[in-house]
């Protein structure tokens, strides 16, 4: 059985750990509010882009658009995967869930060319053997990063180095739940241009109602790269929020577990101390009796 001193040391070290996890929990709680506020600020832009795309969809037919994002990619190439994780860990299985999803996607498609955002994603892809791949961090100017990623991956797609482009990241479902998700980016999904069958009747009414400067095709060609950039940008904001949510839960569990362990050790320590006292008392009594006898 452990001595009282050993137990006391272990309790002290656990209390230190608990203090750290508690502090990290509070920091995560503060940061998640900021991350959610950033997501809210980005929402009007998402609405504006999708409204413009909807208006354009009434106007252009698939064949009239020469943009490479509207053509099927090179079928001989492997798919391109933008893998997005957080820069840091200590958030439970948050990063590893996304990385596992990417690994199985690459396996199903017989390989993949990776672009990574987030240091955990970078390290994972390096372990997979792609030591030299385009990589960015999640921290920093997110808009600039999104632009750089979109430019690089978009060019690779347009020049046939990848067959298609998907984004694998964590979806923020709730504070308690984040799920990895595969979002197709390129080629641009058909429903963006060809409106769903149900809305076909809307088309003649809308057609010609909007004036496009200089032309619908030109506007669309400019809007598509923006759409790509913005999707990456807003997913980065979502990953940020989801990461802090996962970290909040992980640190809250860690704090609770440390508390339980401290309670158990405290009981063990009290037992040990009581046993030592009892033993000493017995020795004193026995000694006194021996003298008296």
């Amino acid at each position: 059985m452990a001595t009282v001193r050993e137990l006391r040391d272990r309790i002290r070290s656990l209390k230190n750990t608990q203090q750290i996890t508690k502090a990290m929990k509070q920091v995560a709680a503060a940061k998640i509010r900021r991350a959610e506020a950033a997501q809210r600020r980005a929402r009007p832009c998402a609405e504006a882009i999708s409204e413009m795309l909807r208006r354009l969809s009434a106007e252009v037919s698939e064949s009239s658009v020469a943009h490479p994002f509207f053509k099927d990619g090179n079928p001989a190439a492997v798919p391109g995967v933008i893998l997005m994780t957080a820069d840091k860990g200590l958030a439970g299985a948050f990063n590893s869930n996304v990385i596992r999803a990417a690994e199985s996607y690459a396996q199903q498609n017989h390989g993949a060319t990776f672009y990574t955002i987030g240091i955990k994603a970078r390290n994972a892809v390096r372990r997979m053997g792609q030591s030299e791949h385009p990589t960015w961090t999640l921290a920093g100017d997110k808009l600039e990063t999104a632009r750089a990623v979109a430019a690089r991956a978009g060019e690779d797609f347009a020049e046939g180095r990848i067959s298609r482009l998907v984004l694998i990241s964590s979806r923020f479902i709730s504070m308690m739940s984040q799920k990895p998700e595969v979002i197709p980016l390129l080629r641009v999904p058909r429903h963006f241009v060809v409106s769903p069958a149900g809305r076909e009747s809307e088309k003649p009414q809308l057609r010609g109602a909007v004036e496009f400067l200089p032309s619908p095709e030109f506007v669309l060609a400019r809007l598509l790269p923006k759409y790509l950039e913005f999707t990456i940008f807003s997913t980065m904001l979502e990953t940020d929020a989801a990461f802090f949510a996962a970290q909040l839960i992980a640190m809250s569990n860690a704090t609770d577990n440390a508390g339980k362990a401290i309670d158990e050790l405290t009981i063990a320590m009290n037992n040990a101390r009581q046993a030592a006292i009892t033993k000493e008392l017995l020795e004193v009594v026995a000694g006194a009796e021996a003298l008296a006898g």
Binding site: A38, R41, A42, P44, C45, A48, I49, E51, M52, R55, L56, L143, A146, A209, V210, E211, F212, L213, P214, F218, V219, R222, L223, K226, E229, F230, F233, S234
Partner: protein, 125 residues
Amino acid sequence: MSTVPFRLITPAEVVFEGEAELVIAVTTEGEEGVLPHHAPLLAVLRPGVLRANVRGAAASERFEVATGPGFIQALPDAVTVLVDEVVRFEDVDVAKTREELGAASAAHDRSAEEFALAKLRLTGH
């Protein structure tokens, strides 16, 4: 004077939201002025100066910012400008920007020289 709801949006935030009497933006085809009840329009914007007469606390105010490339969507009942970035004039660091401009134009001159030289080598004139 009648007004129309006007929003200036960047990916990161809504820069301005309010009522405007007039919005003037620089499209790829030239300046375009948008009044309330404008016919539906969707145009590509060049980097330039976005101007608007907006309804202030009491009277109408002048709203003027520099914007990156983007789009303007005018509908009879709403005007939306979506741009990469917005720079307010009071935020411009004149000395730093001059320096950047100098570096950019130097790079421009250099590449023009290289281009002329390469052309000369290829075509002989």
